[in-house]
Structures are given as structure tokens and as C-alpha cells.
């Protein structure tokens, strides 16, 4: 959680640029998706640690309450969901790529939207799920939000299938079909986004209705 005086809120799906400056003046800028949405000056981030990274180890391991950060944002008006949108929405997230999609799920719930929402979340193991309790609670309480998981390394007890990557079969079984023309948001590592977007187009989704956000991973 970061308090940003004057932030003034953000749309679901937007990101911010965070700049860290070392004592020798060296600076590193990274983009992070925002997990929160709506008005207010408090911003929630969820950061995956890249052990060899320049920024994420500091954010995950070293940052202290009260530390100051240099932020720019909110940024990006394209990979966003607004409560006035009424069409069905299919969200597909890989790993920490779920973060901007969480913001959309939260905005959907907070606004009382009745647009059908569905999240397909690909994650290594059950322990790696971000905001697991919140997602499950929302899926149980809302008739307009459906949650599906794909585990790539280890599955929960009694899970009906082995771990594996998202495939055409999984996308056909666990996402809205192209025939209902959903808005689709895909976020994750570049390879994940590439393969999911290609399968979706092969399944008949209009390329322009599939919005993607790749992160490079450094």
C-alpha cells in the first residue's frame, strides 16, 4: 500500500511508473500495475520478486513503512475497464499479470456492475495465488463473477487434472466463447500473453476485442 498525496484515484487496469534513485544517482524506472481502483489517494501494488532484478527485491524485501517512493501515474487509458461498460468481460492472467485484472474485479464488485465477469488465473501453485481469499469470496457471493484456475507446477489436493500450461482446450472450457463477443483482457509474461492471444484469435475472437498487457520481467 502506498499513500500518494494528490493521486486522485485511478481506473481499473492502469499502471504507474516507479523510480528508485541510488545514493550514487543511478536511477531505475519500472512499470507496475495497480491492484486497486477508484477514487482516493491510496494505491495498492502487488510485486513479484525477480531475484536478479534491480527494483523488485527492494520493493519485496527491503522497503520499510514510511519510506518514500517516486511515482508517476496513473498511466494508460487503453488496458482499462470502466463500470459503465456492460458487455461480458473475460479476464486471463498469468502469474502477477493478474494484478490489473484484480483491479477490474474489484471495480466490478464495488460498482455493483451486472456485466458478466470471468477470470481465468494461471498460477504456479495454490500458494502463489494473489488475493486468494478475496477472489474466492467474490466468486461465491456474486452471480456476475466466475473464477477458474490453471495450475502450472502443482495442483491442490483432489484437483481433477495434472499441472499444465493454458491450452486451447482449457480456454475453450473455461472462458466465454467468441460468439458472445466478450471484451477480453490478457496480462502476464510476454510468452504467456502471446500464446493465449493467438489461441483466442484462432477460437474466433476479434483481434481488436482482445487487449493485452505484456511485462518483460526484469
Amino acid at each position: 500500500m502506498v499513500d500518494v498525496p494528490g493521486w486522485g484515484g485511478n481506473l481499473a487496469g492502469q499502471h504507474l511508473d516507479l523510480r528508485l534513485t541510488a545514493p550514487d544517482g543511478y536511477t531505475a524506472v519500472r512499470s507496475y500495475s495497480i491492484a486497486s481502483a477508484g477514487p482516493g489517494d491510496r494505491v495498492e501494488l502487488a510485486v513479484d520478486k525477480f531475484p536478479d532484478g534491480e527494483v523488485s527485491p527492494y520493493l519485496v524485501d527491503d522497503i520499510q513503512k514510511g519510506d518514500e517512493l517516486e511515482l508517476r501515474g496513473p498511466l494508460g487509458g487503453w488496458f482499462v475497464w470502466k463500470p459503465e461498460q456492460t458487455e461480458s468481460v473475460q479476464l486471463i492472467g498469468g502469474g502477477s499479470g493478474v494484478v490489473p485484472l484484480i483491479a477490474m474485479v474489484r471495480s466490478h464488485a464495488a460498482s455493483g456492475s451486472t456485466a458478466p465477469f470471468r477470470l481465468l488465473y494461471s498460477v504456479r501453485t495454490p500458494q502463489d495465488v494473489f488475493f486468494a481469499d478475496e477472489l474466492r469470496a467474490l466468486a461465491e457471493s456474486s452471480p456476475y463473477f466466475d473464477l477458474n484456475f490453471v495450475y502450472t507446477r502443482a495442483v491442490p489436493a483432489n484437483w481433477p487434472s495434472k499441472p499444465g500450461r493454458i491450452s486451447r482446450e482449457i480456454l475453450e472450457a473455461s472462458t466465454y466463447p467468441a460468439s458472445i463477443s466478450p471484451a477480453v483482457f490478457v496480462c502476464g509474461p510476454t510468452g504467456f500473453v502471446e500464446s493465449v492471444a493467438n489461441i483466442l484469435v484462432a477460437l474466433g475472437h476479434e483481434p481488436t476485442s482482445v487487449k493485452t498487457e505484456r511485462f518483460g520481467g526484469k
Binding site: L16, D17, G73, G76, W78, F79, E213, R214, G217
Partner: protein, 86 residues
């Protein structure tokens, strides 16, 4: 091996210094293939110097942003027109 790219969305921050509007939502026409699409769909490669955005269809260079000591150099040679929603 090609370096990994991200999407044009990533340009929203760097280009907010240069444009008064969110240019990632503007549609640009690719000089290479004529495709018109939002800049957010471009393939963006980043290095220490700055950013290169390439057409998501034909891979032509759309624009480059290079940081200089006192500013930024923006080269738009691969975009023959920009449509901005007003």
C-alpha cells in the same frame, strides 16, 4: 535471439512527458503496412537508451524515444498519421 518486448501501454509514462494527452490511446498509421491501430498495441522494446515501438503486424519501426542529457529525442518516422479522440 530477439529481446522480449512489452506492449505500447508501457509508453504511457515516458510519453506523458512529451504529450499533453495519453498518446497510447491514439491510433497511428504504420508507414510499413498501412495498418491503423492504437499505439497501446505496438511491440515495445526497451534498453538503457530508451524505447523502440514496432508495428504489431509487420514489425516496422513506428517510433523511437531516446533520452538525452537535457530532454528526449522523439522520432516518429514510422507513423504517417495519428488520430486522437477529442
Amino acid at each position: 535471439m530477439m529481446p522480449r518486448h512489452v506492449d505500447g501501454n508501457a509508453l504511457a509514462g515516458p510519453l506523458s512527458d512529451l504529450f499533453a494527452f495519453d498518446v497510447t490511446c491514439a491510433s497511428g498509421r504504420c508507414v510499413g503496412c498501412g495498418d491503423v491501430t492504437v499505439l497501446a498495441r505496438a511491440m515495445v522494446y526497451e534498453d538503457e537508451m530508451g524505447f523502440v515501438a514496432r508495428c504489431h503486424l509487420c514489425d516496422s519501426m513506428l517510433l523511437t524515444v531516446v533520452r538525452t542529457a537535457d530532454g528526449a529525442w522523439l522520432d516518429l518516422q514510422g507513423i504517417s498519421g495519428l488520430h486522437v479522440a477529442l
